[in-house]
Symmetry: C2
């Protein structure tokens, strides 16, 4: 019997993109279902009763929630010949540390939702500072893990979808701040798994404007 | 050559306790080094230059940071005959989800640092709500993973050290709110790995009072 793989997603979510990239890296066919947050599907509410958030991967009826947990699940379930996490335990720990760093420090949401000039400046500064630390870790390597695209790359590259919106809103240039990351973005974008999974930067910008309008109206 | 295993720690840290429990579950001998936060050791600054926080596990000169990353590293490195994470990928994902939930929702720090009555009430309510969700997940099982003590138990049980301090400060009774968790605490505390790693509840209470005094003086 073929696997039934469903991904509950929202097109502009960096977390959802992580799951899509990982599935595509592994060559897994999946049924992509877009959620409407104002009317969440019964499957979403049932599969992620705790957080009620996307992404959720439903594999043969069993749900997996939280994007980094999903990426690790995908890595352990499919395509052992093209692993996303390294096999050496210390290298694995290192990859998990940096993916956790991305989760804690890189928040496009904080920049996108800043409601005052001061909050925007603070969020922008923290965002750039986080990217610079990541740029330091990348150094002259092709990818975070070395020569091969892997777990940390999957966790970070989705934010590229949000770069144009954030740069335009907060008036900065990520490429100028982090030239090595810019080169890394180009390498990642050459992969079909990434190019196919990332949202269009201009659509994300429009979404951000729309959401900011709603927030301001509240 | 014998392994050199150093743990940089602070006695009252729930995160440090996770690492100690995991090492003791695996029967690993380690050199426990207490950090002085007002004068951090060169080894700490060098091993965790990003966060400069304990716990850090230094194994044969290689550092591993972030408590859940450390616990997974320990699980992958020592004692495969007594695993903390289950071998089935879906069960592993489930364990990672709940450990992540503990990290996001259970914050003794938020309760302990609340500076006003309203902030304390809000932090207490969130803390209890988080524990109740965990109680629901535990249900009638002996441990979160079923019959065996494992990853989610390691991630949560250290907070027991803080229960007395939080209950006294915020005037509530965790056992009354979550009777099943109370039974689980007793089972966990019967394990040498846990009993030996958890800080004394009264010492933690004294530390909390001291810290609150300093915060109020600021």
């Amino acid at each position: 019997m073929a696997d039934e793989v469903i991904l509950l997603d929202f097109w502009a979510s960096a977390f959802g993109m992580r799951a899509k990239i990982a599935l595509r890296e592994k060559g897994v066919d999946f049924d992509l279902r877009e959620e409407d947050f104002s009317n969440k599907s019964p499957l979403l509410l049932e599969s992620n009763p705790v957080h009620k958030k996307i992404p959720v991967l439903v594999h043969n009826g069993k749900p997996v929630c939280e994007s980094l947990v999903i990426v690790q699940y995908i890595d352990e379930t499919w395509g052992p010949e093209s692993p996303l996490l390294p096999s050496d335990p210390h290298e694995r720990a290192r990859a998990r540390f940096w993916a956790d760093y991305v989760d804690k420090k890189i928040s496009s949401r904080r920049v996108a939702r800043a409601s005052t000039g001061a909050a925007l400046d603070a969020a922008k500064e923290e965002f750039i500072e986080g990217l610079k630390v990541l740029e330091g870790e990348l150094g002259d390597k092709a990818y975070f893990g070395g020569e091969k695209f892997g777990y940390v790359d999957v966790s970070l590259i989705p934010y590229y979808s949000w770069f144009y919106a954030l740069e335009t809103l907060a008036n900065f240039n990520i490429g100028e701040e982090c030239p090595k990351l810019e080169g890394w973005v180009k390498r990642c974008m050459q992969r079909e798994s990434v190019a196919k999974s990332l949202a269009d930067q201009h659509k994300v910008y429009d979404l951000m404007l729309e959401r900011r309008k709603k927030l301001q109206a509240q």
